[in-house]
């Protein structure tokens, strides 16, 4: 059986997100991750509901697990989960909580919520795929700029850079919410460790697509997707 998937989920996303949040006032752009997720699932990731268990699939790991409305909506738009699941977010019988659980939601690669766990898991996933010769599969992991406060990220940044883990792309959605900021810029934390980096307008889908596919051999890649300040 083949499933026809939308390659442009933009028409459906506002309605799907409203089913989750009940919020009529705010546009989808109120959700910081929606544009990155839309470009990833519409245009970049080689994964569908039919290949969700294929060892060769691309992996997307949502490290910043809080505020997952846009993630659930994109998963529904692409057929990983039924739309009806969106109507009962965090209800007693719901599979969708305020943080996603990989054992409850098809297509979700990791359970997340506590900050600073996704990048280490992504490094391990990339290493595991490499050790098994699955070289087509790429690993994307999405973090927030405030999430980088957690020291565990810096263990992963240094190691992935030092070992040239080039099947890994980290995306940091930067809405300037880190309490003490990142003097000198977020990208510099990665590039000093050997990563390549693109810092782009996180609402610009063409710029996002170019950056999300802009990795180079021999280096892990970073995309800093800058959006309007949370404050």
């Amino acid at each position: 059986m083949t499933t026809t998937l939308p390659t442009d989920s933009s028409a459906r996303l506002p309605g799907l997100i409203r089913r989750l949040t009940g919020d009529e006032k705010h546009a989808p752009s109120a959700h910081s991750t929606v544009d990155v997720l839309q470009v990833l699932y519409d245009r970049v990731l080689r994964v569908t509901p039919d290949t969700a268990d294929d060892p060769e699939r691309d992996r997307f790991l949502l490290s910043k697990g809080h505020g997952p409305a846009a993630y659930y909506a994109v998963l529904a738009a692409h057929g990983f989960i039924p739309d009806a699941w969106l109507d009962d977010l965090a209800g007693p019988e719901s599979r969708l909580g305020h943080h996603p659980d990989r054992l409850l939601v098809p297509g979700v690669e990791i359970g997340s919520g506590s900050l600073g766990h996704g990048l280490g898991l992504a490094v391990g996933t990339a290493l595991g795929l490499r050790a098994q010769g699955l070289r087509k599969a790429r690993v994307y992991v999405l973090l927030g700029d405030a999430e980088l406060d957690e020291g565990s990220n810096h263990e992963a940044i240094a190691y992935a850079g030092a070992t040239g883990l080039d099947s890994l792309t980290a995306v940091v959605v930067d809405n300037e919410s880190a309490s003490h900021g990142w003097a000198g810029g977020i990208a510099s934390r990665f590039t000093v460790n050997g990563w390549t980096a693109d810092t782009i307008d996180g609402r610009d889908h063409e710029a996002l697509y170019a950056a999300l596919t802009g990795h180079r051999p021999g280096h892990p890649h970073l995309v800093v997707a800058r959006i309007e300040s949370k404050g």
Binding site: P55, D101, R102, L103, E109, I110, G111, S114, G116, H117, L119, G120, L121, A122, V123, G124, T125, A126, L127, G128, L129, R130, A131, Q132, L134, G151, S152, E155, A156, A158, Y159
Partner: protein, 300 residues
């Protein structure tokens, strides 16, 4: 004679050669001993540097792709420091790993509290009932337990130490009786390296001594079959770690329980492991005093 750490290194090196599913994650500790294995299997021998949070995160990621990770360091760095990674990057993801520690409660006696982990097994108890905890009491128990561990995808903790019993009992997953007392004799359960001092301490006392290297899951059917009124636990980690399990297993049986093990207090003393065993009352003399007092007390 080979020690437990060497047995672990030799067995893991062989497993890396034999089984392409096996992967080893290190945080500098023991890295030099795995250098030749790393040359042969550069994609499956991964030293992340002194980064224990990442070590467990990487183990979780490897397991998510279908590999069987072994992660290794001192217990205090592997378990205490990376506790939330064990909880979330392994347990919550629904994947397992083989965690192999050295150092135990006070092998690092001269190093001080920073290198000691008497609370590691209690931490696994806080994670639910999924973990198998192996506490070998002899180096010859290490290879079979490790080989058994890598054939599954289960979460397994292997706690190595420098103390050893006189003999190995690789099959003692369940309670194994090594000395049988008379009818209704008290039961003394010795875990891992506590067997040697326990046998010495109970010489000439009418007790049944049973041994296991696997405190989790505890052999509660065996415990119920062997226990009479008086039960003594002798554990090489925090005293009382298994008390709740014993109480639950014997909930419908009138019994008294003495739980011996490492004390809660940071002694702030150095010396050697034998000194710490004595200070915690876990040498033969100390155990004999505690057990005799318990058995001789009212209500026995």
């Amino acid at each position: 004679m080979t020690d437990m750490r060497t047995a672990f290194i030799d067995t893991t090196t062989a497993l890396l050669d034999e089984d392409p599913r096996t992967a080893l994650v290190l945080a500098d500790i023991s890295a030099s001993q795995f250098a030749s294995a790393g040359h042969r299997h550069p994609d499956r021998v991964l030293n992340v540097g002194i980064r224990e949070q990442l070590m467990i995160g990487v183990a979780g990621g490897l397991a998510l792709t279908g590999l069987r990770p072994i992660a290794h360091s001192y217990a205090t760095f592997l378990v205490d420091r990376a506790y939330e990674q064990i909880k979330l990057d392994l347990d919550h993801q629904g994947v397992g790993a083989v965690l192999v520690s050295i150092g135990a409660s006070y092998d690092g006696s001269a190093e001080g509290r920073t290198h000691q982990s008497p609370g590691d097994v209690a931490l696994f108890d806080s994670l639910g009932d999924g973990w198998t905890v192996r506490v070998p009491g002899h180096p010859d128990e290490v290879a079979p337990l490790l080989r058994d561990a890598v054939t599954t995808d289960d979460p397994i903790y292997l706690r190595l130490c420098e103390q050893r019993n006189a003999e190995a009992y690789p099959g003692a997953t369940r309670l194994r009786v090594l000395r049988r007392g008379l009818t209704n004799a008290p039961l003394v359960v010795a875990v891992g390296p506590m067997l040697g001092p326990t046998l010495a301490a109970t010489e000439g006392i009418d007790v049944t001594v049973a041994y296991t290297h696997t405190p989790r899951p505890l052999d509660t059917p065996g415990l119920r079959a062997l226990a009479n009124t008086d039960v003594v636990l002798v554990e090489p980690y925090l005293a009382g770690t298994s008390s709740a399990l014993v109480s639950r297993a014997l909930a419908d049986v009138p019994h008294r329980l003495l739980a011996l093990g490492v004390g809660q207090t940071d002694l702030r003393r150095y010396g050697d492991p034998a000194d710490h065993a004595r200070w915690h009352g876990l040498d033969a003399d100390g155990l004999r005093r505690s057990i005799s007092a318990f058995l001789g007390s009212v209500g026995g």
